[in-house]
Symmetry: C2
Subunit: 154 residues, 2 copies
């Protein structure tokens, strides 16, 4: 996760990161904003996974709808990760478990894997091969679950 | 706004739209989900408008950050509109004013204009011309405000 963030000014970044980790990525003015942002990205992502799933369950899946949503899924898959910065573990009203903030390497690995699978889904969707989309959709859903299993409250 | 929705099966669509408007776009299981979705899309959009603004205020704007966020802004600009379906005007905890649901044509016009300006921003961002980005950012912000002024609670 890109905790040491994109939007700190260079000077501020040098000043702070030499000694301590930033409390929360600087594109968020406070931890609550980061939580709201990551939840928003997941809300959109989840909705479009659902839309794809609806099509895949249909006897006449609409390839264009799948393609549109696969594009949104790929775009969303990149966004939430730098909103899990330190400080956000103290925000209530989130399903993120304390373990998430103690396992940076594992979470990074899982999030990168998930992003890879989302890219693949979008690439496959563009071919219009619904059967291949179905397979990759399952792979991506599993990649999501791999993180949810350990790091998200039921 | 695409109220008559992408994800209704054709049969259901024909059966229902002949007589009445769908209560809410069928990619949402209930109006509250539609409101949550559109708010999520606006949250992500707003955050990335903020990120671009931060760069534009900087004496050393990071073109790559602007480009990344402009891509997200364009993607998000397309999403919220079919989540303003009929039925969602009765959901509380939203800033959408009653007038929004009584002015379909105007809202459609404003939302399409906003999307056009978001596409332009992303196109200009790709050129790396920060001055041109600043101008178009202002145009897009105005296009957002044009809807907020009449249809969003302060």
């Amino acid at each position: 996760m890109q905790r040491l963030t994109q939007f700190v000014s260079v000077a501020a970044c040098i000043a702070v990161t030499a000694a301590i980790a930033l409390p929360v990525a600087a594109q968020f003015s406070k931890p609550e904003d980061a939580v709201k942002y990551r939840q928003a990205a997941f809300t959109v992502l989840s909705n479009h996974m659902g839309r794809i799933n609806t099509q895949l369950k249909s006897s006449t899946p609409n390839v264009q709808f799948i393609q549109t949503s696969a594009g949104v899924v790929e775009a969303m898959s990149k966004l939430p990760w730098d909103a899990f910065g330190h400080g956000t573990e103290f925000v209530t009203n989130t399903k993120a478990l304390p373990a998430l903030f103690k396992n940076d390497a594992k979470v990074k690995e899982l999030s990168e894997k998930m992003q890879e699978e989302a890219v693949k889904l979008n690439t496959i969707a563009k071919t219009g091969d619904t059967k291949a989309v179905r397979t990759q959709f399952g792979v991506l859903a599993k990649a999501c679950d791999n993180c949810h299993d350990d790091f998200r409250a039921k």
